[in-house]
């Protein structure tokens, strides 16, 4: 009873539940899709732009969903603005050493970029009459700046959640510095998967879709390595995963979310045309279970 692998085992769980799991998932999708879209805009060819626009179309609803989920999770949802404005003085509230504080600002700023890029994508698709909006799409310096700054904040939103968990005193979360890295890599992986699914649904065959497949596979492999590094870095605290959560992590995340999609990527004859979409769907499932395991397992220690 008196042997604990870490002093973190004496803290209390914050009761972050399903809303936070969903927020981590949608926040990862929002940031990841925007980042990939921005990358395609920056280095891709003009014919790749439908895929970039797809990323922006996904990013905005996901970032709105993220804000709603975070607000609903608060004990006092109507006080959500206290994260940005100090309620006693009405001055801006910002603590660079508090990941939630920086993350709230990052989410707010990223939301603005996601909205601009979403509207500009509509303009480029001739679905919105806003002549000035065309300036925000490539080519052009303004569109490049939007893509770079928005992409930065997008990835920040996708990754700060892992840093947030590390900057606590809960077991697992604060016993490894690698959760932010894991969340960022996983965000790229699930975002590539979602964009692949949507691109296949639209029967797009532009070369960037094939490139996205490769990015998904490479990032998936990196995610697996980072997850193993997380497990090693936990040291004796790893025993907190020697239970049903560990099984879910192995079967749900590693097997279903990584190994089977890898196999489907390399053995293209297995499911024929459905190989890429099946792999992408499994990556999304694995990415969700990853966040589920990390959020819940550390609170049930």
């Amino acid at each position: 009873m008196n042997t604990f692998p870490s002093s973190t085992f004496f803290s209390a769980p914050p009761d972050w539940g399903w809303l936070i799991v969903l927020y981590f998932f949608f926040g990862g999708l929002a940031g990841g899709c925007y980042f990939l879209a921005a990358l395609i805009d920056l280095v891709g060819r003009p014919e790749d732009r439908p895929l970039a626009r797809l990323g922006y179309y996904v990013a905005l609803p996901c970032v709105i969903m993220s804000g709603l989920l975070l607000t609903l999770d608060l004990g006092r949802p109507l006080r959500f603005w206290h994260m940005l404005i100090e309620s006693n003085t009405f001055r801006p509230m910002f603590k660079y050493w508090s990941p939630i504080s920086v993350g709230a600002w990052a989410l707010f700023i990223f939301g603005i970029f996601a909205l601009i890029s979403f509207l500009a994508a509509l303009v480029e698709d001739n679905r919105l009459a806003w002549p000035a909006g065309r300036k925000f799409r490539p080519p052009g310096m303004l569109s490049a700046v939007i893509a770079m700054v928005g992409g930065f904040f997008g990835f920040y939103v996708a990754g700060y959640t892992g840093v947030l968990l590390a900057v606590t005193n809960r077991p697992i979360w604060s016993d490894t510095p690698l959760l932010g890295m894991l969340f960022i890599v996983s965000a790229a992986s699930i975002s590539a998967a979602l964009m692949i699914l949507l691109a296949h649904r639209s029967r797009w065959t532009m070369p960037a879709v094939a490139a996205l497949h490769r990015v998904g596979a490479w990032v998936g492999a990196l995610e697996f390595l980072v997850l193993i590094a997380v497990m090693i870095s936990l040291g004796p605290v790893f025993r907190a995963w020697l239970n049903a959560w560990g099984l879910l992590l192995f079967f749900g995340v590693i097997l279903v979310g990584m190994w089977i999609p890898f196999a489907l990527y390399w053995r293209k004859d297995w499911l024929g045309d459905r190989n890429p979409t099946a792999a992408a769907a499994l990556v999304l499932v694995g990415g969700f279970i990853l966040r589920l395991v990390i959020v819940f397992s550390a609170q049930q220690v």
């Binding site: 209390a12 959500f80 100090e86 700060y160 960037a208 490139a211």
Partner: protein
Amino acid sequence: MPEPMGFYTDTTVCIGCKACEVACKEWNQLPSTNGGQNTLSGDSYDNTRRLDGIHWRHVKFIEQFTENRQDGRWLLMSDVCKHCVKAPCLEVCPTGAITRTEFDTVVIQSDACNGCRDCISACPFGVIEVNPASGTAQKCTLCYDRLQAGMEPACSKACPTQSIQFGTISDLRNRAQKRVEQLQEAGEKRAYLYGADEKILGGLNSFYLLVDKPEVYGLPPDPKMPTRNLASASWFSFLGAALVGLMGLINFRNRGARVDAEEAQR
């Protein structure tokens, strides 16, 4: 500016009467659990179970008995917020709701807290939780309202054995050190102070005299600041972003170059 104030809790004279719990609940008007219906925990005489949003004092009952129960002892300890000099909860609070008072104590302003619960996971002692009545994180205020009126906190005032002592930190440390020496001279060599010096989070303004390892009392042996991971976690995240960016760059650009080359051959 008043001197730093706090609690010194001598666990060796606690009798487990829970007067501190009752006084705290009464003064701070904290609601009862289950609408006042008592439920037994089955864990010794401890039915409070833990500190949370509506229990800001918690008397722990630790039974140390041999299997045949012919020999043993009770360890009793009235637990409370430690009002750390370097407070993890205050450090992470994103709304500025948690502040340090003129008495060097740590207080959550309920009207500013929005219930994000980051402070709960940051506190290494498991002190803070949400009070369901307010929807905000709450904990011991070291009776800030009483202190401002020149009064003693309700719990120490009610303690019948002076297990909980209130005063200036410098005075409490002197008293506690003398008590440790007295106990050791009397043969209780295990007596020591937990949190009285600056080793634990810069010092605990609510510190303890213990006669066993901190873990036995449910206290972390080596509590740390949550921001210890901030720099390393941030750098690893940037590394992850850079690697993903590089992978995207290589693939999208390679594809472009390859297609360009194919087109040129045609």
